[in-house]
Symmetry: C2
Subunit: 215 residues, 2 copies
């Protein structure tokens, strides 16, 4: 095996190191977070660190970089309390990537990149109309990570919107490959996926079983 | 769009809800975490909540479920201070899934599922020999998430092992699809991936550019 040690990656050029370290954590669920600022300007940003916290209550987290590097989304979430997470489809992956450019706070990324704001009645935060799976979160807790000045931002699930063509299976699962949701790797790579299999709940002394296809 | 609200998913059967909520966060980087307990028994467990915390210093986190549901990995990390994260290849995805069965603490999951322990000189924690990308972490912080009794466990990167056939690109990126690293969705679904594209660093007023292929 090729071995790499801290002295090596600490000596690397910044972007080389960022690309390498970001690849190690494996495939990610790059999604667009939609917010609105105190002046009513929508914001849309790409976040690849969405993480499942729990199902009951339904809690979903993401890592926000240090405030100086990524100020707008977190400020808007604090001000408004509501935010949306929107899956990315290959048909608009280039527009989604473009939201990661550093636009000033008064710029509406939806307009800049060519995606469409969508609002639910009485909810003053934008979804991405083009997204086939999207959900609304209400802020529950911002946990500072002192080690590197980042934050774990945790929201509670308040609403889920799914394209009518995508039905949950008989056991509640969503075939994200059929929905076309992309995965990401590193800072700038996006992927389609192909199902290998689902497997039954694992038990000691029971051989692994492929799941009979759930409708 | 189909709309789902909290009253609905709170009324669902537990596994239906878990499947549905776990699909929402999108594709995940299911990996095997290797640890060793105070009696010297190795432990291997599947974790799909690996999350990038930062590149400099190189910090990687994962979410540990409540202690009652998932006691061994976290206890071992606390006792030993070192743990490994090992990417999963389609050739051993069934064995990897089987590690999620609830084995007693005195059982060695490597032996039970048929994977091979691999040790580096002087480092008393097992890697998965079959894994083509794997890394060693030292515990830096365990952050309790009071909302649902889970934990964000953060480790610092201490060593990286990569199969000789996989070279970082000229800008440090790892083509995880070429390495065969799988992605996961929900509790039990595993995927191969296919690169759509990499894109250049996004800038305002500059059209999105596909990256020229990096070697």
């Amino acid at each position: 095996m090729q071995q790499f040690s801290p002295a090596e990656w600490q000596s690397w050029e910044r972007f080389y190191r960022a690309n390498f370290i970001n690849s190690l954590t494996g495939f990610k669920s790059a999604s667009l977070i939609g917010t609105i600022n105190a002046q009513g300007v929508p914001n849309l940003g790409m976040f690849s660190s969405i993480v499942h916290i729990g199902s009951d209550p339904a809690l979903i987290g993401y890592i926000n970089r240090p405030i100086a590097a990524a100020p707008h989304t977190l400020a808007n979430i604090k001000a408004n309390g509501l935010y949306t997470v929107n899956h990315i489809h290959p048909s608009f992956v280039e527009k989604a990537h473009q939201t990661s450019a550093k636009y000033p706070d008064e710029v509406n990324e939806f307009t800049e990149v060519g995606l469409t704001e969508e609002y639910l009645d009485g909810i003053n935060v934008p979804f991405v109309k083009e997204s086939t799976i999207k959900y609304l979160l209400s802020l529950k807790e911002i946990i500072p990570i002192a080690l590197n000045a980042t934050f774990l931002v945790i929201g509670q699930l308040e609403k889920v919107l799914i394209d009518p063509s995508l039905k949950p299976t008989s056991d509640g699962f969503l075939h994200l490959d059929q929905a076309g949701s992309i995965s990401s790797n590193g800072l700038d790579a996006y992927y389609k996926t192909e199902l290998i299999d689902r497997y039954d709940y694992a038990k000691p002394d029971t051989p692994v079983q492929k799941m009979a296809n759930k409708i």
